[in-house]
Structures are given as structure tokens and as C-alpha cells.
Symmetry: none
Subunit: 412 residues, 2 copies
Amino acid sequence: MKKASIVSIGNELLSGQTVSTNASYLSERLLSIGIPVVSSYTIGDDTDAIVRAFNLASTDADVVLATGGLGPTDDDLTRSALAEFLDVELQLQDELLQKIQNFFTNRNLQMSAKNKIQAYIPAGAKALANPLGTAPGIMAEVNGKLLIALPGVPSEMERMFEESVLPELQRLAGGQAVVVRKLRCFGTGESNIAELLGPLMQRGSNPLINCTAKHGVITLTINAIAEDKDTARQMAEKDVKSLRDKLGELVYGTEEQTLAEVVGKKLSQQKKTIAVAESCTGGCLAKLLTDIPGASGYFTYGWVTYSNSAKTSELGVGADLIEKYGVVSEQVACAMAQGARKKARTGFAIGITGIAGPSGATEQKPVGLVYISVDSDNECETKRCLFSYDRAFIRLRAAQTALNMLRLKLDG
Amino acid sequence: MKKASIVSIGNELLSGQTVSTNASYLSERLLSIGIPVVSSYTIGDDTDAIVRAFNLASTDADVVLATGGLGPTDDDLTRSALAEFLDVELQLQDELLQKIQNFFTNRNLQMSAKNKIQAYIPAGAKALANPLGTAPGIMAEVNGKLLIALPGVPSEMERMFEESVLPELQRLAGGQAVVVRKLRCFGTGESNIAELLGPLMQRGSNPLINCTAKHGVITLTINAIAEDKDTARQMAEKDVKSLRDKLGELVYGTEEQTLAEVVGKKLSQQKKTIAVAESCTGGCLAKLLTDIPGASGYFTYGWVTYSNSAKTSELGVGADLIEKYGVVSEQVACAMAQGARKKARTGFAIGITGIAGPSGATEQKPVGLVYISVDSDNECETKRCLFSYDRAFIRLRAAQTALNMLRLKLDG
């Protein structure tokens, strides 16, 4: 199997001001054609560091993809570092110079003398056309390794990669096919999932199963590699089925699906509607629901009743109920959901009340305590949750948990 | 000057599924205390690769910061790789085990057997407390180099870095003083700011001024380096003043302040209250307002009136008004704000109606068209905006623009 290594060049990548998305873009595209990325180096605008990174990367892999450092200014050093690594001179390419001049002429701009440097590339290397800018890419071969340098501007880099680099790499990858599938889970932790899956998650196996967690969503990625696409797909599907069998209703969706998307789809299919009444989540749940295009088909009414009086005046939650049980209680969450459902005349309504912190806690009611109610024709189901971490985490987790309760309800 | 190198560990970082923000977070924080990052390595869950990265990073720099690979599953290999690099054994730390057990006990959860592995750390190394999770960090010294391993989950990593690592590194950075100041701007684009500032943004100068843009907020970072803190602070303050003079009311805040935070502070100080009535933003504005702890002091009522009937029944927006001008109109935005202010009895109210897309556009009303009204005692001020890009961008930009309108109103 051919492997790749990525070299990202630029001081701005090391100062923390810019989060480079080039490396992850290239990684995903390379993996999709069966060339996994095995290492990724980020260095500043320094010739020695770039040459060393080329050395390391070409030791790690068959293909080295570098981005950045091809601009016209003095701190753009990729051209000269690549020439040094290849042990050749930089040569002026008249044809390239003409192209760069045309780029400016076509835009009625004066070409800066600095731009001439972009027409130099290492002797023996091939220039790659840049339809969107002045910096050409460079492709060179040495000792059976393929080295490719592309500009750091994402739009230019992506276009050049797709047009000039990808076809070359597909030839290089040969017949090999990769199929990537994802399962999205909610309702338990990463270590519990790992325990449930046991030997399925063995390292170095094919398909390879990877587990990551973000905002309470556990993502299982299944990477299958085979001689042809059909075989790879069958291998991946087999694992998807095993994982689904083991995880049951913990799996809420596939690929890039969010909980809100899956819930929205189910509501649409079942021709049901939903209203929300939020206190501590303060609009997070409504936002998640309306992140999804077409949400107006099932979501019409939302309330952010942040004060007690808002709960009473807008949702009809009895002041005596709040007095008796406290505003953070099962009874108030349920009354909020019921009030919202009645007013909005929807099939379902969700009520959320809790303490997002950092203040507002009492001895009996700590920060992170949240009651979530889902009201429907049959019943008002309430869940008592205790989330930890900080305000943002508690609010998001509460909203996601509410969506998950609704999902399970919609599944019957 | 001390230098740092970063090692990011995890297969998911090489498959392109996760864009790691840890490296840029650490780079920025390290630079702010005068320890520039000179290289950054990303490798997969592979012991040999991790050991090699530790070797490279400790050759490059005085401080090595690694993230990821400290979880409880079999693909978490940072502990054992670090032990191999240090040439010592992993040792069970009873105290750590107790802490991890407590983490589960406090949450009424069963500890998985897998989690025990997290109580092992290399002999002679120091464990770093993780207040938010089960994975402790590790700090070790070898040959005058400081090695630090932190979890890959950003919230855990950041908290541990700030609490346990930063003080240690500040001591290490010694004499040189760095002062970093930030100005946050809203209401114009990055290139316009660059033009307004002109020679102030020269490269290589000290203080160095950097400009980045995210979600419509333009951040100017002023980095001043001097022999002592006072001098560096004076240098930074002088530039902050020049920038403020040039940018005027475009500057809404400093350091990590968000628009919602600044608006909330002004509302509190002026003892004013705010209610919101949202259509296309679907809760985004309420969420931004309630992201801020203590928002209940000035924010009490919010409506997400996603349907026409909700606007009429909840906010008293006339059906004839909607019929006559269309639901996406200055008149409806203003009526929503007025209705909300009347019902919530607040000093201010915001109404937002627009087309977030991708569907819903007409010839006269394109995707991205949003009307935002701020109603107060004196007037109902409405702004017609046309935002581009996608649904998420349009919604967030509309909510931020509403906050900015309110900020300018509160400033008189």
C-alpha cells in the first residue's frame, strides 16, 4: 500500500493564528483513494526546517504533499528548499513567467517585480497550473518518491490538487479501493462503547475501526481496504452490521448525520410536529432544531422562558407549582412541556429546566442538574440528568439529550 | 529564548476527520508567554511513530507538548510510548486510581475495567490532575527537556494546560516579557481594517500586530516583547490606543470578549432588559445571550416564532401585515420586536426575520436577506442586511449583527 506524508509550511501555522485545514482536507482525499497519511509535519518559513521535513516525510512515505511557501515574498522558501532537497538549481521557466504576466494583464493589474520569483522551479521538476492565482505548484520525483508542493491558500490548493495531483495519485495507488463508513452514537461514554465492542476494535485490523468523541456524540469510523470497491464495501458493511447489533439503539445515525437531522427526518416521515420550552438551555435546543434546512416543516413554536414569570405568563406553569417544587424540578419541566404543546398544538413538546451555572446552585440542586420532559399524547416522560464540566457543555449536552429522548420516542 | 514543539497523536487526525485545534491553541498560548513553537508533528496511534516524534520534538525544542492518546482504549498509546522514550517502566499510581474511581462514583457510574490503565504513568514522571475527565496528564524531564502529555479532548486539555502547565512554563520562560493584547471589532471586513491601519500592520515590527477574522469578528492581536513586563505593557498599550483611534466604534471589546458579553455588561450597568423574537435565526440570538453567565439579570423572555401563526398568536403581529408586506419585511421585523417588548415589558426588544436558505428565496427576496429591528422607548430601528455563504453563516451573522446594533444603541 502506498503511503503519504504531509508538510505544512508557514510561520502563521505555528503562531496559532491560523488553524490549517489543508492537512485534514488532503488526508481525507488521500485516504479516499487508498493512500493513508502516516505523518504530518508543520514547520515555519525556514529553509533548513523545510529541507529536514522533506527528508523525514520522504522517509515515512511514498508521496510527500507540501503546502505553503510558494508566494512571491521573501518568506516564501518552499521553491528553494525543494531545490536544495533535490540537489538541483532553480531554473526560470519562460512559459510560467508568461502565465504569471497574463494573470496580471487579464486583471488590468501591474505585475510586481517580486512575482517573477514564482516562475522559477527546481530543474527537472514539473510545474502544476494554478487557475486561481499566481503561484504554480511543483511536482518532482526522486528515488522513487513523489514530491508535490502546492500553495497554502485553501481554494487554490484544493483546485490544483483535484485537477493536477489526484489523477496522478490514483494511477500510483493502483487498483486499491477504500470504503469509509461512519456510525454515530449517543447515550453513553467512549470507554463503555469500547467495552461493548471489545475485539472488534483491534488495532491494525482491516477494516480498521476508530472511535472518537465530541459533544457527547461517539463516532465509530470503519475503514475497509480491498482490491476492488465492491469487496471493500462488503467488508465495511459487514462490520457496520456487527457494530449495530452490539450497540442497538445507541446508534442514532450514519456518516455526517447530527441528532437534530435524524430527529427532523423522523418527525417529517411521521408527519409529527414539535415545540420547545427552554429555560437553562436558553435557545440551544431551538437552534439545533433549526440548524437543519426545512425545519419549518415540523418546528413552529419555541419559547425561551428564562424567568419564572415568563414560564407562568407564556406557558401557564403554575406559580404555586414553582413555589412548591422549585423551578428546577421534574414537575416544572413537565408543566413547561405540557404548556408548550397545548399552545403550539403540536404532537410533541420538550421542556427543559436546570442549572447551567456557574452560579445558581443550592445544596440539593447542584450545577449541572437538568430536568428534561418530552410531552406527547400518551404521557409526559421526564429525565433527571446531572451533567458536568462547564456552562457551555451542560447546555449543549442537555439540548442533545432532549433530542435523543425524542428520537427514542419517535422510534417507539 | 526557550522554544517549544508540539506532538499531536491520533489516527483521527491523519484521516482528515478531525481538524485539531489543540496545536493552534497551544501555539498561541505558548507564544503569549514568550515560548515560540518551532515545529509541530502529527502522527497516528502507533508506538514507534510516537517515540520517534518525541525524539524529533525534543531535538527541536526545550519543551515538548503532546496531546491525545491518553484515553482508556487499546489505541491510546501515549503513556507506553512516553515510558519507552524515557526508558522507564509504567507504574500504577494508587492515588490516581483512587481519583479515577471517585470520578465514576461521584457520577453514580460503574468504572470500566479499561479505565484502570489510566492510573499508570512512567516511573519518575509527575501526574497532572484532570478536573474534567479520567485521563490524567503526564509531566517528565529528561536531559534538560520538559515533556508534557495532555488529553486530546480540547476542553480537558485547555483546562489542564492553564492550571497545571502554564505556571511551570512561565517560570521556565524566565526574563523575557511578552504582553499580548487583543482588540475585537465588528461591522466591517478584514481587508478594510487592513487598509484603515496601513503601516501599523508592518511585518517584523515590535509590537507585532496580527489580524484574523472569524464569524464576522475581526481580532487584532498586539504582541509586544521587551526586557521587562512594564515596558512590554507600555508598548502594547500605545499600539492599542493608536488602533482604537483609527477604528472608533468598530472596536467592540478586548481580549476574549464576545459581542454578547459586552452587550450583557452594558445592559447590566444601565439596568436595562432585553427580549428577543426570532424567526430565521431560530434561537441563535437567545443562545448567544444566554451563553453568558448571569444573563438572567437582563434577559427573561425569548420567542422562536418560526411560523406565521406563531408570530401572530405569540407576538400579535397582524396577519394583514404579513399578507401585505410579506413575512420577510421591515414591517414584520419591527412588529415582532414591538410585540416582544410589550409582552415582556423590557427596555429593548429585537425582532429578526429573514431567509436562511437553502430554500425559501423568491426573485425579490434572495437567500441571506434578513431584517433586524431593535425596538426601544424612542423608536424601532430596522436594518436590512444581505448575508452570503451558507445557512449556518447567515444565521450566526444575523444574530451577531443584532447584538452589534444593540451595542451601538446602548452606547447612545
